[in-house]
């Protein structure tokens, strides 16, 4: 039985260490905030200039001047600081963020990531994704194991335009977790969703990985 989106987020949250600064992408990665272990102090960054993201506001707390990178209304905490976008990306590009958790369309077996455009479709732009994968120390991807047509998203090579080359450290799909110790190493299958087996995973994965 495949992991749910919340289970995937919960699995991703297990990598959060005390004192980490973390940027969560739009979509499933946002759910990770709900699963931060109680004994772990994590500061969330939003690239539009917020260090120390709070939860969504109560209805009467909504403030149009306080949104996250997904343009959702949020709140501040007692640790929050605001910066300009240039200074915010200084944190990102300068390697000060410990971990970013992002969605993906495809990941290659060498850690290339594609998540910003599909040729022939309207291109909306890279946003901050290219900056995040280039600058953040560690990148975890959350994505479905296969696309709607059943095609593997963890592939030998990306078919879609790159967001970054050799930038992914860990992949959590709804079927399995792959990880590598460094960016010279191949990915290794680390965990399998309940009811699935290694053989099944291999069949649904185009990428080469170790077991």
């Amino acid at each position: 039985m495949a992991w749910t989106r919340d289970e995937m987020a919960s699995l991703a949250a297990q990598d959060l260490s005390d004192g980490f600064y973390v940027n969560l992408g739009i979509g499933i990665p946002t759910l990770v905030a709900n699963y931060i272990p109680a004994d772990v102090d994590v500061t969330l960054q939003s690239e539009n200039g917020i260090l120390g993201l709070g939860p969504f506001p109560l209805d009467n707390e909504v403030d149009a001047d306080l949104i996250n990178a997904g343009k959702q209304t949020i709140t501040e905490l007692d640790r929050t600081s605001y910066t300009s976008s240039a200074d915010s990306f200084g944190m990102i590009r300068g390697g000060h963020i410990d971990l970013s958790i992002l969605g993906a369309m495809e990941v290659s077996e060498t850690g290339d990531l594609a998540n910003w455009m599909v040729p022939g479709k309207m291109v909306k732009g890279p946003g901050g994704a290219m900056d995040l994968v280039a600058g953040v120390r560690r990148i975890t991807v959350l994505m479905d194991h296969v696309d709607k047509a059943g095609v593997a998203k963890f592939r030998k090579a990306c078919t879609l335009p790159f967001t970054g080359r050799n930038v992914v450290d860990k992949i959590i799909t709804n079927f399995a977790i792959f990880e590598r110790p460094d960016r010279e190493s191949p990915f290794q299958l680390k965990k399998i969703a309940p009811g699935m087996d290694a053989e099944g995973i291999r069949k649904m994965t185009e990428a080469h990985y170790t077991e």
Binding site: S46, E47, N48, G49, I50, P55, F56, P57, L58, D59, E61, V62, D63, A64, D65, L66, I67, N68, G70, K71, Q72, T73, I74, E76, Y82, T83, S84, S85, A86, S88, F89, I92, R93, M117, M122, V123, K124, G125, P126, G127, G128, A129, M130, D131, A134, G135, P161, F162, T163, G164, R165
Partner: protein, 234 residues
């Protein structure tokens, strides 16, 4: 030296021309110069190259200038929320230069700080790198990106004083300080004009040197794109 203007029209007077490059602050619809965008619509200035992280929505933000076909090119990181933009882009009526968000912020900062080019790892090996020079530092490849200088910058701040000193509020700061700095001529609209000395010198985000004209904002709709709330039970 009188920076405060009576109206947004007066604040832009003599400073717009067809084919100009305009930098605008704001992220999504947050911290956008609503009043000055409307004045730019009214000015009828054509063939604008707009530097802005986003393109607004159909009837708000820079979308207002797209609808009137006053913008011919955008330099942006993400333009996903605007159907009119999509239509013009697919019809090739509008040119777009995509720029990763951090690179865009840094290009604007660089332009304002007299830096014509800088190197970044962002975009290496992607479509963004096409046609750009690369250079290796410590065994890693970096892209050369250029500074951006705009003919006019329009920004939105929370408070401003008669010297043009500005203070922003929360995440409405975003691209505004860089937009202010990268304009050859910068006009700021503020929610409140305060008296000399009322802004604490240690708290000023944009020093007055970057602001040539200032006007009280008459439009502060501050539309929210994704109103997201939690229930009180939490």
């Amino acid at each position: 030296m009188q920076k405060i203007c009576d109206s947004a029209e007066e604040a832009l007077a003599g400073k717009t021309f067809d084919g100009m490059m305009v930098a605008s602050g704001g992220f999504g619809l947050c911290g956008i110069p609503e009043t000055l965008i409307e004045a730019l619509v009214a000015s009828g200035t054509k063939n604008i190259t707009a530097i802005s992280n986003n393109a607004g929505v159909d009837d708000f933000g820079l979308g207002r200038l797209l609808r009137t076909r006053q913008i011919s090119k955008m330099i942006s990181s993400y333009v996903g929320e605007n159907k009119e933009f999509e239509r013009q882009y697919l019809a090739k009526e509008l040119e777009i230069e995509f720029c990763p968000q951090g690179t865009l912020a840094e290009r604007m900062r660089a332009g304002g700080a007299g830096i014509p080019g800088f190197y970044t790892k962002t975009g290496v090996g992607t479509l963004i790198a096409e046609g750009k020079e690369t250079k290796t530092f410590n065994g890693e490849e970096y892209l050369l990106e250029t500074g951006l200088v705009a003919d006019l910058a329009i920004v939105k701040a929370w408070k401003g004083d008669p010297y043009g000193n500005l203070v922003y509020r929360k995440s409405a700061r975003n691209f505004n300080p860089m937009a202010a700095a990268c304009g050859k001529f910068t006009v700021a609209e503020v929610e409140e004009i305060v008296g000399p000395g009322e802004l604490e010198p240690d708290h000023i985000h944009t020093p007055g040197i970057f602001v040539q004209r200032l006007v009280l904002a008459t439009r502060n709709e501050k539309r929210i794109e994704q109103r997201t709330v939690r229930t009180g039970a939490v």
